[in-house]
Assembly symmetry: C2
Homo-oligomer: 204 residues x 2
């Protein structure tokens, strides 16, 4: 397949989320105009983005929502369920382990790790907290490729290194710190302070 710009790929999950919402409102079809307004991009961009992957609409009537959802899920490879692990069971790890929002979006928490002896063996969100020492082997054996990192920032790079050693290819990092990863390993950041600081510039 053609090489698709990452900026386009990164918008598809947002389109998918909006379409799922429309579907939950029992809506059957939408247009590039409507979807664009909903997610805050131009209609032309919606059409251009989607056209990278095929022809999913009909002139005059727009897009069938169920069909477009199906296609986007295939494109994004979330027409399956990926096992993900959570490393770190502080408040944030706790919240993620119990998070219900992964359902129908392609992900399932499979295992939860911590290195704190007083937490290992305890339960969180239905998972037994496993010893971080056993993490690399457990990831390898389960063939897990995705990890969510909620350890303290001082430990984040070291844990990331272990994840990579274990074969993890995608890391969602909650620690407020830039991580260094080799080519072929992907990284996304979820740092609330960054989100807020992107807005304060415009305040007052």
């Amino acid at each position: 397949m053609k090489n698709i710009p990452n900026i386009i790929v990164s918008r598809l999950p947002v389109y998918l989320r909006a379409l799922n919402h429309m579907q939950s409102q029992s809506q059957q079809t939408t247009s590039s105009q409507e979807l664009g307004e909903f997610v805050g991009v131009s209609a032309a961009q919606i059409r251009k983005d989607l056209s990278q992957f095929g022809e999913f609409g009909k002139q005059g009537t727009g897009y069938n929502i169920a069909f477009l959802i199906k296609k986007l899920r295939e494109i994004l490879k979330v027409d399956r369920v990926w096992d993900v692990i959570v490393v770190g069971t502080g408040d944030m790890g706790h919240a993620i382990a119990r998070y219900q929002g992964f359902t129908n979006r392609g992900f399932r928490v499979a295992m939860v790790f911590d290195n704190n002896p007083t937490l290992i063996g305890k339960e969180v969100g239905g998972f037994v907290i496993q010893d971080a020492k056993t993490m690399v082997n457990a990831i390898r054996e389960a063939g897990i490729e995705i990890a969510m990192l909620t350890v303290p920032d001082t430990a984040a790079q070291e844990v990331a290194n272990q994840l990579i050693e274990a074969g993890v290819k995608a890391i969602l990092n909650y620690a407020p710190i830039s991580l260094s990863v080799p080519p072929g390993v992907m990284l996304q950041y979820l740092d609330p302070s960054i989100g807020l600081q992107r807005m304060t510039y415009y305040l007052e």
Copy 2:
């Protein structure tokens, strides 16, 4: 001041985070080369971005980290502490209310709200959970401009409307749903599934 592209503004918090990290390692100076490698952008882009706001470096020696941190904090208006509110005290709201990572990054949780009668009056992270019915007035009286939204998706738009009515200008939305806000109100999303779906496209 000149109109700065948002894409540049959005990178500044990442630079700032990296500089803070370097400083915590007792590093005194850095170069556009080094900082760029650290955060994953080109040295030219670092210099171009910073040059929008002034001349902060010295030829031959690079940037004084403490000085550049000071300047970036001023630019991003996080050389002060912003009061933010948390709406919704589920697991995620809980984690945010107790989050220590806002310290020194310009934010402080000031109030916490929920509409669940069994939670109102209880404590979370040292805050008494206040009745969401009193939220609009409380925000107005305190002059709060920033809110973090961790309510269920079905309630998110409605709560966002109340926040906007109360004068909130910046919303960090944890609910996995696109919100509609009027011009002048800023919005950032922290949806873990979106982050993960931006990576699965490239997996396997």
